[in-house]
């Protein structure tokens, strides 16, 4: 009963937002819908909801975690966006706000889709609803970024559809009454159709990997994150990528049930290390702060793939890292958005001394950098350590060593850019007029996400670690 409500809250809010004519009133629908959605998500997590629509819509353990994560991130961003749009009164938000809400509805549907086709449709809807958001600034550069994003992600998602079809085709051999339900696919994935399963996994990994931003399909990421408003960057880097990772986990489970554990784990580890390496190269000397965050996101996606590839406790770490990454990327992008607004630039040529000019945003940006690169006492430290520990206890010394080395390289690369941004003396202001200052609405979300990331580093609440253990067991299927 509750699951459809979760999807209908943002959809109705999107309709309402389309009907409201005032550009200043419309943003307030965001915090309203986000709080209702968050409350409904908590209810669903406490009182388990029964599967509906013939089992098509139900929550599995990784789905629950992703849903909670998306709802939390959206709530944080929804507060921020009201404050942000006060500085963007020259632009109509009549497209932006409904698109954001449709994105939330699509994301919710992804987390509770137990049917391959339905999940694909939901993921495609999140991809389409994000395109107009990237394009909010209407500059030639943002059009270019939107075009590249649309083209690459459409092709990626088309390959994922082909991969989904291959996966179903593989199940035809042992199943006289084939369906697209994950539970049936897992049951009927036998070893005698391994060729089709293998092809299917490659296509699905490339397809959903494009959405995640795994190298070498990551090229849309710096462009899109660089040109989109900071809050959209937060939702893309924290939300969209987590959804794609969830999709990969679900199809990986089908392949593991088909006896392909070694095959999929090799592919995931390879893609993971490649993504981390690509990020380490391109983050070095990056002058644009948002593009730097995009490469950091490529690195994070690499870490998730690597953790999922190693499996067992590393998978626990990877899912925890998915949550940590989303919240930390949230705080980084929101802080970067504030810095961008204040300086009118996102290049390290112009941005110095952010800690002096914007004490809150500058400090949070610095803390976010420390957190995302795995420094204690923040959340990512715990999850990265779990993955590393799992790699070494599985005797994967080379992989563990490379993982550490690449983490270090990204830390050095990002550090140079971040220190230039936050330290030093700000240049005198060039612009005049509506000058940005940290306020309640654009400051509180930063503090909130920072506190959450800190909490996850110091103490993981029991209900969360329970869900994480459930997710880990869920992925351990026998062939």
């Amino acid at each position: 009963m509750f699951l459809p409500i979760l999807i209908f809250i943002p959809l109705l809010a999107a309709l309402a937002a389309g009907a409201i004519t005032s550009n200043t009133v419309r943003p307030w629908i965001m915090p309203l819908a986000a709080s209702l959605h968050f409350a409904a998500v908590l209810t669903v997590l406490i009182v388990p909801a029964a599967p509906i629509w013939g089992g098509w819509v139900a929550l599995d353990p990784p789905g629950k975690l992703t849903l909670l994560l998306i709802s939390t991130l959206f709530l944080i961003c929804s507060m921020y966006i009201v404050g942000y749009l006060r500085y963007r009164t020259e632009r109509s938000n009549r497209v932006l706000i409904p698109c954001l809400l449709i994105f939330l509805a699509g994301a919710t549907l992804v987390t509770c889709s137990q049917q391959l086709g339905l999940m694909w449709i939901a993921i495609e809807s999140t991809a389409l609803s994000t395109a107009p958001m990237i394009y909010f600034n209407r500059t030639p550069l943002s059009i270019e970024a939107t075009w590249k994003y649309l083209l690459l992600s459409s092709v990626g998602i088309a390959l994922a559809l082909l991969g989904s079809f291959f996966l179903v085709y593989a199940s035809l051999a042992n199943n006289p009454h084939p369906t697209l339900l994950f539970s049936h696919l897992v049951r009927h994935a036998g070893a005698d159709n391994a060729v089709w399963l293998k092809i299917a996994f490659v296509f699905l990994l490339v397809g959903y990997g494009t959405k995640m931003g795994l190298a070498p399909m990551h090229t849309w990421k710096p462009d899109a994150y660089g040109e989109a408003p900071g809050v959209v960057g937060a939702l893309l880097a924290g939300g969209l990528t987590s959804l794609a990772f969830l999709a990969i986990l679900r199809v990986d489970r089908v392949c593991i049930a088909g006896g392909l554990q070694t095959y999929t784990s090799h592919l995931l580890i390879g893609m993971g290390l490649l993504s981390m390496a690509v990020a380490a190269v391109f983050v070095l000397g990056q002058k644009d702060i948002k593009r730097m965050l995009a490469y950091s996101s490529v690195e994070q996606m690499g870490i998730l793939a690597l953790g999922a590839g190693i499996g067992g406790p590393a998978l626990f770490g990877a899912i925890l890292q998915m949550i940590n990454n989303a919240l930390t990327k949230g705080m980084l992008f929101l802080a970067a958005g504030n810095i961008h607004r204040s300086y009118g630039s996102k290049s390290t040529d112009d941005v110095h001394g952010a800690m002096r000019r914007l004490p809150l945003s500058g400090t949070v940006f610095m803390l976010g950098f420390l957190a995302i690169t795995g420094s204690p006492p923040f959340g990512p430290f715990v999850s990265l350590f779990t993955i590393l520990n799992a790699a070494f206890s599985a005797h994967l010394f080379l992989i563990g060593g490379l993982f550490l080395l690449l983490l270090l390289l990204v830390f050095i690369g990002m550090g140079r850019t971040v220190l230039t941004v936050v330290l030093g003396r700000p240049l005198p202001r060039k612009q005049s007029g509506n000058i940005y200052r940290d306020g309640l609405l654009t400051g509180l979300p930063l503090i909130l996400s920072c506190l959450l990331v800190l909490m996850l580093g110091v103490h993981i609440p029991p209900f969360l670690s329970h869900l994480l253990h459930q997710a880990q067991t869920f992925m351990e299927v026998r062939p």
């Binding site: 086709g117 809807s125 394009y135 059009i143 083209l151 459409s154 088309a158 559809l161 082909l162």
Partner: protein
């Protein structure tokens, strides 16, 4: 039974080659529309029992792929006032040859894959692979944004052909959902196309190279 499926698929394969060699944008859009309509009729030939739902889905597919989407593309072409030529990165003849090679490779490659259901026409898998390859060729070797969109449509047609093997498994609701996503996708793309044209006074993707490392 087999010839009734294989004949349309052969026409689809020939259309693939034609689309790689054609230089007029208008002919390209018409060919893509024709391919979509032919493909939408395939389920009617494959299913043993034809009910209202199958006819409905086929009609909706034909309407979207044969009418609505070509209409949007024609409108984008008119609004853009661009030279109605395709502008290839690699010449028409070489891409046609590449397409023909791709088709030959698809047929050989598909022969190596285990067929899970042998009762269905053997041409489905190679035709699907070949159409997907054609879509990729159009996407990568043409400069104009509209041609790339058509490439994406052909790619989707290729996936649709593979879907013919799964008619029993894929529910109509999912088929309609996929179709709706395709439609909305092309709709969003055509809006963006319009803005690209306004901002750059052209639909040449060579203009879109400001963002790089």
């Amino acid at each position: 039974m087999h010839w009734s499926i294989n004949t349309p698929l052969v026409i689809v394969l020939l259309l693939n080659l034609f689309m790689l060699g054609v230089s007029r944008m208008r002919s390209l859009i018409y060919s893509a529309a024709a391919q979509g309509v032919i493909l939408s009729a395939l389920p009617l030939l494959l299913e043993k029992r034809i009910d209202v739902m199958i006819i409905f889905v086929a009609a909706v597919t034909a309407a979207i792929k044969g009418l609505l989407i070509p209409q949007m593309l024609h409108k984008a072409l008119r609004d853009a006032q661009i030279k109605r030529e395709v502008e290839p990165l690699i010449g028409f003849l070489p891409t046609m040859l590449l397409g023909a090679m791709g088709t030959a490779l698809s047929i050989t490659f598909a022969a190596y894959l285990p067929m899970i259901q042998t009762r269905i026409a053997a041409l489905i898998i190679p035709a699907s692979f070949s159409t997907v390859l054609t879509g990729f060729l159009l996407l990568t070797t043409r400069y104009k944004a509209i041609t790339q969109v058509i490439g994406y449509l052909i790619l989707e047609n290729g996936i649709y052909i593979f879907g013919m093997l799964l008619l029993a498994a894929v529910p109509f609701l999912v088929e309609l959902g996929i179709l709706l996503d395709l439609f909305v996708g092309i709709f969003v793309v055509s809006i963006i196309l319009n803005h690209i044209n306004e901002a750059f006074s052209s639909l040449d993707t060579r203009q879109l190279t400001a963002l790089k490392e």
